[in-house]
């Protein structure tokens, strides 16, 4: 059974963030890199990474911003909703329900459409590292659809974080503070001089920048005063000096007539910020249970020297000796989004064209799009896994091998499927050809090796390979059917949940 965890063999902190010697960037290292920065390590991508080296691969991954196109449903969404609300006001109360239902239905539809389009966008390998980093940011400066409600605000918030990835962290915090989604999510618009709401101030310190024990309750109270005056006008940030408490505040021992923007400066100059953000990054991508604190301190210091550029964190960490330490490879539990997008990439499938095919499954796996459990975001790691979420993962893997019954689709879903096909995005079931290619040629021992090497994050045990070979068909007759069952089991097995 699991031995008590021996101290991990890691490079010491002072040299941990030196770039890995290019000579040591072999196939296994490339696979590790690709699975961590993106969702899968397909053979072609591994070849390219080995050829280009880690540094070029990372330059390419985080080079320039790749904006996500605005979903068509969102182009006129706000106007349409405003129009519906206007028409509603003109009706007697008893007759408003129909329009209210329509507004809700359209909102749900637009949100679902956005979710599907984001999945499709993130699935494209050239976008994957960026979107995985954006998901990390979304898990720090958290907002949730339940409270924000507006799909346009949510889309725009994500776009703000995407842009923020290519800028510096203090600017990102400032944009977050000024974004209607955050203003609504943490009640900044409920705050005014004389009656400050502390919600945003508290989370700004605790979750977004400094971490517990690095500020006082009094700092929060004073910061909340500095934040008064922020509100939303015409769906955009606005600052109302009349609601702002213009008096002197003392935050972190520094006194002044601080405004909201001043507060971000104070936070950025606080000595805890670099280590806090560096530690969060390392937990997300390297070791969720945390490394000895010296690593985050070291990384934070280096990050600060470079001017807090957000994308420096992945650039430094994913190139580092630390990241390639054998003890840290292949043992990170994939989030449901990562599991799904990894399946799509490994199996060469397009993401689902209809909400019914995937959004409920993501929820059942524990990660409904843009609905984190609370302001702390998803806890992640082992918390992704319980009997229900595992059952949902197993179900998902199985479903990708079963042709959908098109007669059972409703009209909307059928139309969506037809449109996807026309747009060349109709690969939603694993074809026999793909299956055969995954398996490769040779006796079943060779096929077992191909499958394990192609799909699993670490070399399989001989017993595993033997059991897999045993399950593979010998007779030609039922070859594909049996192969399908075996591949499904590999995609469901514990090792495939890791990356």
């Amino acid at each position: 059974m699991a031995t008590p965890s021996a101290p991990l063999r890691l490079p010491p902190p002072d040299v941990a963030f030196r770039p890995l010697d290019p000579a040591r960037f072999d196939r296994a290292a490339a696979r590790h890199l690709l699975r961590r920065i993106g969702y899968a390590a397909t053979p072609a991508a591994v070849e390219a990474a080995v050829r280009d080296g880690a540094a070029a691969t990372l330059r390419n991954a985080y080079g320039v911003e790749r904006p996500m196109p605005l979903p068509p449903d969102l182009e006129h969404f706000d106007e349409e909703q405003a129009d519906l609300r206007k028409r509603m006001r003109e009706l007697p109360e008893a007759q408003r329900k129909e329009l209210a239902d329509e507004a809700r239905r359209k909102g749900r539809q637009a949100f679902n459409d956005y979710a599907l389009r984001w999945l499709a966008f993130a699935r494209e390998p050239e976008n994957s590292p960026q979107e995985k980093a954006v998901a990390w940011l979304q898990d720090i400066v958290v907002v949730g659809a339940q409270k924000v409600k507006s799909p346009t605000a949510l889309f725009d918030y994500q776009a703000t974080l995407r842009r923020g990835l290519y800028g510096d962290y203090p600017s990102l915090l400032r944009s977050v503070m000024r974004h209607p989604a955050m203003i609504r999510y943490l009640d900044l618009n409920q705050s005014r001089a004389g009656a400050p709401n502390e919600n945003f101030a508290r989370e700004l310190f605790e979750l977004f920048s400094l971490g517990q024990n690095n500020y006082t309750e009094q700092d929060i109270k004073e910061a909340a005063r500095a934040l008064t005056g922020i509100h939303i006008r015409n769906d955009a940030f606005a600052f109302d000096p009349k609601r702002h408490d213009a008096g002197e505040k003392t935050v972190f021992g520094r006194s002044g007539r601080w405004t909201p923007d001043d507060l971000i400066v104070l936070v950025s100059e606080h000595p805890s910020l670099p280590t806090f953000v560096a530690d969060d990054f390392l937990r997300q991508f390297v070791a969720r249970e945390g490394l000895p604190p010296a690593y985050a301190q070291r990384l934070g210091a280096r990050w600060k020297e470079g001017g807090f550029k957000v994308a420096d964190l992945p650039r430094i960490v994913f190139a580092s000796e630390l990241f390639y330490a054998p003890a840290l490879r292949g043992n990170r539990i994939k989030s449901p989004h990562e599991y799904y997008l990894g399946l799509c990439q490994d199996l060469e499938l397009d993401t689902a064209p209809t909400p019914g095919a995937i959004l409920g499954t993501l929820r059942a796996m524990g990660q409904a799009f843009y609905e984190p459990p609370n302001v702390r975001g998803w806890v992640g790691g082992k918390n992704w896994i319980n009997s229900s979420t595992l059952a949902a993962r197993r179900q998902l893997a199985r479903s990708l091998f079963r042709p959908i019954n098109e007669n059972q689709l409703n009209a909307d879903d059928r139309r969506a499927l037809e449109e996807a096909r026309k747009a060349g995005r109709g690969r939603i079931t694993v074809s026999d050809e793909r299956l055969s290619r995954l398996a490769g040629a040779g006796p079943r021992e060779a096929v077992a090796r191909n499958l394990a090497e192609g799909l699993l994050p670490a070399p399989a045990s001989p017993e595993f390979l033997a059991a897999l070979a045993e399950a593979l068909p010998q007779e030609e007759e039922k070859r594909l059917a049996a192969l399908r069952e075996a591949v499904v089991a590999v995609l469901q097995c514990p090792a495939y949940q890791l990356g």
Binding site: M1, A2, T3, S5, A6, E93, A94, R96, K97, Q146, K147, E289, P326, G330, N331, R332, I333, R363, A364, G366, P373, N374, R376, V379, G381, K382, I385, N386, S387, S388, T389, L390, A391, R394, L456, P457, A458, P459, A460, S461, E463, F464, A466, A467, L468, A471, P473, A481, A482, E485, A486, V488, A489, V490, Q492, C493, P494, A495, Q497, L498
Partner: protein, 422 residues
């Protein structure tokens, strides 16, 4: 906590049905940790709790009707259940909704306790958030990561049992079950136990399906580079537990014969399966099921009547089944809903989100069948009632008096006065 019976049961299952699950390196925890657990508590005495969620916000005022209160009829001119309707009178100014005949009968026979006007301070009117508050049992301004049942698991179970500590019939793990340390939980899906499902190895010469292959793959040691890795081991154990439980549950449900007739509703069938699992001596402590559709913003009367009838009929069948199986003594059933509804009806013959509402405790040996104060309806139009019993008082009472644990470890913040229904 582990019993020879369970081990035997497992070995028997493993010997026949789940033959593919060999014990090379990742046997279920009870085999690897074997007798360390010491002498088990006799199963027949182990208390079980069943939680029924009324999702959407149940209209408490039309469930337990203050039919003699003029304020009720003032606030509910069209939705109020009128005097003379076939409601079930319990006491002065208190009657069960016409659909709750069977619950009324249970109440009269001492099998049901009504806790009135239950809520919490600073009520939140979002379904999502208020459900979270009930499930995490925190103050309204606190975000909790763990659920109150999960904290009970943390306090009372060592996490080593082969049987799930909690079973739920909801598609996703209820937040109530979220715990600080891992416990085996199991999601009972809609088609479990409907019969007819083949078991692995049933046909000779048949090709193995993915579930069987998965069991053998999971049994093989992990990649050598991940030997002893915490995450890899956790995944293998959780999957192993799930596969074993799946097989056991399938087996139990396919053989079980209920001793009462259940209504053919989703809730009725969920409770039927839960009764079968309790009777089978699974070590499961808490079952969680959900009855949805209570968000009655419009045209409430018909919908609400149907939901309450389904609830009443299913609960009564469940209790009768437990009694006939002679296991009613160790099962306590509780309902909850994220909030009640606004006393004033709205313009669409419905009601909007409100605050406090009654909840039900069903079981044997209840001491008091009417607990707490009735809500005060002397309020203006569109105002909400103020709770008089905190839901955490109900939890604290069950935790100490039925589950035998100290509520202080599970309900943070302060002491919640316990109630006298147990």
């Amino acid at each position: 906590m582990l019993t020879p019976y369970t081990r035997r049961e497992f070995l028997r299952t493993a010997g026949k049905g789940l033959g593919l699950v060999a014990f090379a390196s990742v046997a279920p925890r009870f085999l690897t940790d074997s007798v360390l657990a010491g002498a088990p508590a006799p199963l027949k005495d182990m208390p079980v709790m069943v939680i029924i969620q009324l999702a959407g916000g149940n209209d408490g005022l039309n469930t337990l009707i203050p039919f003699e209160d003029d304020n009720y009829h003032r606030l509910r001119p069209t939705l109020g259940i009128k005097q003379g309707a076939p409601m079930h009178r319990l006491a002065d100014n208190l009657a069960f909704h016409p659909g709750c005949g069977k619950l009324a009968e249970l109440w009269k026979n001492g099998g049901l306790s009504i806790i009135r006007n239950v809520g919490y301070p600073n009520p939140n009117r979002s379904h999502f958030r208020s459900t979270e508050i009930w499930e995490t049992a925190t103050d309204a301004h606190v975000n909790g990561d763990t659920g109150w049942v999960g904290r009970y698991f943390d306090a009372a179970c060592d996490g080593q049992g082969s049987d799930p500590a909690g079973v739920h019939t909801t598609g996703i793990l209820p937040q109530s079950f979220f715990s600080a340390s891992p416990h085996n939980t199991f999601g009972l899906t809609g088609d479990a136990g409907r019969g007819g499902k083949r078991r692995p190895g049933a046909q000779r010469g048949r090709l193995p399906d993915s579930a069987e292959i998965l069991a053998t793959l999971n049994d093989a040691p992990p990649p050598p580079s991940l030997a002893g890795d915490d995450n890899a081991e956790y995944l293998r154990h959780t999957l192993m537990d799930a596969l074993v439980t799946e097989s056991r549950v399938q087996d139990i449900l396919s053989k079980d014969k209920p001793e009462a007739e259940y209504p053919p509703t989703a809730l009725g069938q969920s409770l039927r399966r839960i009764a079968a699992l309790i009777a089978s001596n699974l070590e499961t402590r808490v079952y969680f099921t959900s009855h949805g559709g209570f968000d009655t913003h419009a045209n409430q009367l018909g919908t609400h009547a149907r939901l309450l009838t389904e609830l009443s009929d299913a609960m009564a069948a469940f209790q009768l089944d437990l009694e006939r199986r002679k296991i009613a003594g160790r099962v306590l059933t509780m309902t909850f809903s994220e909030f009640g509804r606004r006393p004033s009806e709205n313009g669409s013959a419905g009601t909007d989100h409100g605050t406090a509402a009654p909840l039900f405790i069903m079981g044997s040996g209840l001491r008091n069948n009417l607990v707490g104060q009735a809500p005060d309806l002397n309020i203006e139009k569109n105002k909400d009632i103020t709770f008089s019993t905190d839901f955490r008082q109900v939890y604290a009472t069950i935790l100490r008096k039925r589950l035998g644990v100290d509520p202080a470890a599970i309900l943070p913040g302060r002491k919640f006065g316990e109630l006298d229904f147990l």
